[in-house]
């Protein structure tokens, strides 16, 4: 049963990734794209977490930790860039 459920979960997460990617492409302003990128990072972490629980490999959770850290740093860096405006 858990095999089917994890497949359904992974497909749902993939669908969510696709929808967030549509917003990343469409987003009319730069902050829209930053929000979409932030959501993409969180969704990728969730995808990897489900994959770790499904496969039972511990090292996969370490990859999720690293992606969560890098996603936060990227979001703050983009927001700082938006707030400062174009560099002179």
């Amino acid at each position: 049963m858990l095999d089917i459920v994890s497949r359904i979960t992974l497909v749902t997460m993939g669908l969510a990734l696709l929808i967030a990617f549509i917003r990343l492409v469409k987003g009319p302003t730069l902050p829209d794209r930053i929000v979409a990128t932030d959501l993409l990072g969180v969704l990728i972490v969730g995808f990897i977490v489900v994959l770790a629980g499904w496969s039972g490999v511990h090292a996969t959770l370490d990859a999720a930790i690293v992606i969560a850290l890098i996603g936060f740093l990227g979001t703050v860096a983009y927001a700082t860039y938006v707030e400062r405006g174009d560099p002179q």
Binding site: M1, L2, V5, S6, I8, T9, T12, M13, L15, A16, L17, I19, A20, I22, R23, T29, L30, P31, D32, I34, V35, A36, D38, L39, V42, L43, V45, G46, V49, V50, A52, G53, G56, H58, L61, D62, A64, I65, A68, L69, F72, T75, V76, A79, T80, V82, E83, G85
Partner: protein, 119 residues
């Protein structure tokens, strides 16, 4: 028993993630989109992490899942605040149905940069 609990938590978490993505696509405004994307990081990822920790069932993976959850719960409000502040001062247009904008007086937005001296 653990399998059933894990299945429920995973399905709930992925449903929250899908709803957050749909909200980010459908909402009319940057600020409302941020409000929708928060659901994926707190409820969605929390449910997925709890399900994985229950499924793997040893101390090492539980500590890893708890550290991911604590980190996400700590950094999501900071990231949301930074994005909202940056996009407000970058004069991203608000949704036309917005009823209250407390920082705007006399038709112009007060800047928080030190040059303007009003912050």
């Amino acid at each position: 028993m653990i399998d059933i609990l894990t299945a429920i938590l995973w399905l709930a978490g992925s449903a929250f993630a899908l709803l957050a993505a749909v909200g980010v696509l459908r909402m009319p405004d940057v600020f409302t989109r941020m409000q929708a994307s928060t659901k994926a990081s707190t409820l969605g990822l929390g449910c997925l992490l709890l399900g994985t920790a229950l499924q793997m069932g040893d101390l090492a993976s539980f500590i890893r899942a708890a550290s991911i959850g604590a980190f996400i719960l700590l950094t999501t409000p900071v990231a949301g605040h930074v994005i909202a502040r940056a996009s407000y001062f970058a004069e991203v247009p608000l949704w036309k149905g917005t009823v209250l904008d407390e920082r705007t007086r006399d038709g112009e937005r007060r800047s928080a940069t030190p040059e303007s001296g009003q912050a």
